[in-house]
């Protein structure tokens, strides 16, 4: 292993740059909508290796697996639950082929998409078991870290972090939620605030906490709120804005330059791990890389 351990770098700096969107890249390469994006891991892993290579080349130090929905609930919608382990294995292997030890491989763990009781039908024990199964599979496949991401229900996020820590005790876990700006501050649609998320995700065992899949201009404010409520490293991955239709094609409005311009503010807000979510491409990541390299990283406390 030529790289230093992820956790050491996360804690001692300089700030780590992750990758950008995967769905955006895959759909641009003809992935049909409606099918499970995870099926690509089984049927066209070379696409994943190719995209990972682009992110590595752009300067990403963490590359994420295409396993966002590789939990029993979501795979079940496509009859793929039995393939969960194989999907996770192929997903990690496809990234590793591109990055070797030059980048950390982060195993993506997204929400189940089903609400927990009493608000929905999902039993907490079943949800935990599903997250544990996914984490164990990603760990067995050789992931360097796991990221529990795009959560809106703090109960589900906590339960995921706990399950993941137990199933993959050797791996660092980054936990991020999706917040929106309201007149009363930042909230997820389920009502979680960054302050509550910071405290409860830290207690649940996360190694880094923060936000992903939100507007770029909310991220520094959210990061500051996390910073004020926990001592963990902060992670943020904003979207490249919300897409509009230009000549019949969906276009994310935020330019690489605009995303890069936010980097200094994010670092000042205490962000240790940054990257992009929906709509961000290797071009955005390259711009952020340059912004990061031109900036003296200051250690928090």
């Amino acid at each position: 292993m030529s790289r230093e351990p992820f956790l050491e770098r996360l804690q001692s700096g300089p700030a780590i740059l992750g990758d950008g969107a995967w769905g955006t890249m895959l759909f641009a390469r003809g992935l049909p909508t409606g099918d499970a994006p995870e099926r690509v891991c089984l049927e066209r892993p070379e696409l994943l290796t190719g995209i990972a290579g682009l992110y590595l080349e752009a300067g990403a130090e963490v590359v994420t697996t295409n396993t966002f929905g590789a939990n029993p609930e979501r795979l079940g919608l496509h009859g793929l639950t039995d393939s969960l382990e194989e999907i996770c294995h192929e997903a990690v292997a496809a990234i590793r082929r591109a990055v070797g030890e030059r980048a950390w491989v982060s195993g993506s763990i997204g929400p189940t998409g089903v609400l927990l009781v009493p608000f929905g039908r999902l039993d907490p024990a079943a949800a935990s078991a599903g997250f544990a199964r996914q984490a164990a599979a990603l760990a067995a496949a050789g992931a360097d870290l796991l990221c529990v991401e795009t959560m809106t229900d703090l109960a589900e996020a906590e339960l995921a972090v706990r399950a993941v820590r137990e199933a993959a005790p050797g791996l660092p876990v980054v936990a991020t939620m999706s917040f929106e700006a309201t007149r009363r501050g930042f909230f997820t649609v389920m009502g979680a605030t960054p302050a509550k998320a910071a405290v409860r995700l830290e207690v649940a065992g996360a190694h880094a906490v923060g936000a992903n899949c939100g507007d770029g201009d909310t991220m520094a404010g959210i990061a500051r709120e996390f910073r004020a409520h926990c001592a963990l490293p902060i992670a943020v991955r904003p979207n490249a804005g919300l897409p509009t239709l230009v000549d019949g094609a969906l276009v994310h409005p935020e330019s690489p330059e605009a995303m890069a311009a936010r980097v200094p503010e994010l670092l000042e807000a205490g962000v240790h791990l940054l990257g992009g979510c929906c709509g961000t491409t290797p071009v955005h990541i390259r711009a952020m890389r340059q912004a990061l390299d031109g900036k003296e990283w200051k250690r928090e406390q």
Binding site: G23, T33, G34, R184, F187, G191, L245, G248
Partner: protein, 212 residues
């Protein structure tokens, strides 16, 4: 009237038991079922929708209130006049083809029903043809489209195009929403409306019904 206010309040708090008891008590008092529906249930859900719109409450609170209303409706339904108040309108609702996300769409359905609309929920992964079929057979005035994935947003354009193609543009309005969907996108595909969230979707549907 106090009885109905209390009932409305208990509905907002999502207290199923209290709503059941309050509904029974109101009926025992001789209050008309249609009045209970309007002044307690729909009034309560309207407040729930507004509070959610201001993010004073969140999705869990809305879901609990909806369930409490459902509990009350089970008791109230047999007493409602068959020729009672007509629905505020008929809406065909669904998540577009290729998209299996339903939390947001369900929330819109809850608030539309809470506002007195009849909702025909087609579920997720619904094709443009199925939206049109359902809207025509139900005589719906509005089609509501949801998408969470940026990649399925173009499906919304297909539904709008099909409505135009069949010459239904005057009779059937299309409103779109979902996390990545913006007003600019809605305008771009020629949709009649856009909901920033479930509460604004209901307001927009009401406005469309009034011909705005």
């Amino acid at each position: 009237m106090d009885l109905l206010k209390e009932l409305s309040e208990n509905l907002r708090l999502g207290d199923d038991e209290a709503v059941r008891a309050g509904t029974r008590a109101a009926l025992a008092e001789g209050l008309a079922a249609d009045d209970i529906l309007r002044d307690a249930f729909l009034a309560g859900m309207a407040v729930v929708g507004e509070e959610f719109g201001r993010r004073e409450i969140f999705l869990p609170d809305v879901l609990l209130a909806a369930r409490a209303m459902q509990a009350g409706m089970e008791i109230l339904k047999p007493h409602l006049a068959r020729d009672g108040a007509p629905p505020a309108g008929r809406v065909v609702l669904g998540t577009v083809q290729g998209d299996l996300h339903d939390i947001g769409k369900n929330l819109v359905g809850i608030l539309l029903r809470g506002a007195g609309f009849e909702v025909i929920d087609l579920g997720t992964d619904v094709s443009a043809a199925r939206f049109l079929e359902a809207a025509e057979s139900a005589g719906a005035q509005v089609i509501g489209l949801s998408a969470l994935l940026t990649t399925t947003m173009p499906r919304m354009a297909e539904v709008v195009a099909l409505v135009r193609e069949r010459g239904l543009g005057e009779r059937v309005k299309v409103i779109v929403g979902g996390a990545p969907v913006t007003q600019a996108f809605a305008d771009g595909i020629g949709a009649d409306g856009w909901g920033f969230d479930a509460e604004s979707a209901v307001r927009r549907v009401k406005a469309l019904m009034e011909g705005a």
